[in-house]
């Protein structure tokens, strides 16, 4: 038998609506809850991508050159120091 979990503070009307939705859809309440979580998860991922890919103030050519220069410098330092074994 699966573990029983508790959600505190659920409004009676909301609970009744939730139950009715599950019945209407011929699904278990746990399944409807899983769908709800999946929906919000996907929505958040979509929102996150949108936020990342919407650039209101792009780097200027000069700024981009400077950023690229600094990243190259950062990478150069990965020529690790030679270990002295003795």
């Amino acid at each position: 038998m699966s573990e029983v979990k508790t959600i505190k503070g659920v409004d009676e009307e909301i609970w009744a609506d939730f139950k009715a939705i599950a019945e209407k859809e011929d699904r278990k309440m746990a399944e409807v809850l899983a769908d709800l979580v999946k929906y919000y998860k996907e929505r958040n991922i979509k929102k996150n991508w949108e936020e990342i890919l919407t650039v209101k103030e792009p780097l200027t050519e000069y700024e981009a050159k400077m950023v690229e220069k600094r990243i190259k410098e950062f990478r150069k330092d990965f020529k690790f120091r030679e270990t002295k074994w003795d």
Binding site: I52, V55, K56, P58, L59, M66, V67, R70, I71, R75
Partner: protein, 131 residues
């Protein structure tokens, strides 16, 4: 499969290169999961942002922090060593930061989005090149 973006792509986004952004939009529609970056990409991008050369440093830092940063584990170390060993035997030399990104893509089953064609040599990961 989720996506992991490398630094070349992050710079294109920051420059608002529309061709790159539109390709990534299309790819992200067909692939579930967050926009991920390796801790290595986070670190080098953060280093690039540091300093007084940016007009709006906070804005660029904010976007960098929107990515899901993939952290290193023991498996990252294992994959990194195995990739370095295998490709050096083949005569292909990668920079350590690139191998870390590839090792994390492999470990987390992520598709690597990059402009660097050399990553295509790594058979263990799926790579999409943005032209």
């Amino acid at each position: 499969m989720g996506l992991i973006l490398d630094t070349s792509i992050l710079i294109d986004i920051e420059k608002n290169i529309l061709n790159t952004i539109s390709q990534i939009k299309d790819i992200s529609k067909n692939n579930s999961g967050n926009a991920s970056i390796s801790f290595m990409t986070y670190s080098e991008s953060y280093f690039g942002i540091l300093g007084k050369h940016l007009h709006n440093q906070e804005l660029h830092l904010r976007r960098l922090n929107l990515f899901n940063c993939v952290n290193a584990t023991k498996d990252t170390g294992k994959n990194l060593a195995e990739l370095k060993y295998k490709y050096e035997l083949k005569g292909i030399h990668f920079q350590i930061p690139d191998l870390i990104i590839a090792a994390q893509a492999k470990e987390n089953n992520l598709i690597l989005i990059t402009k660097d064609k050399l990553f295509c040599e790594i058979e263990e990961i799926k790579t999409i090149i943005i032209e």
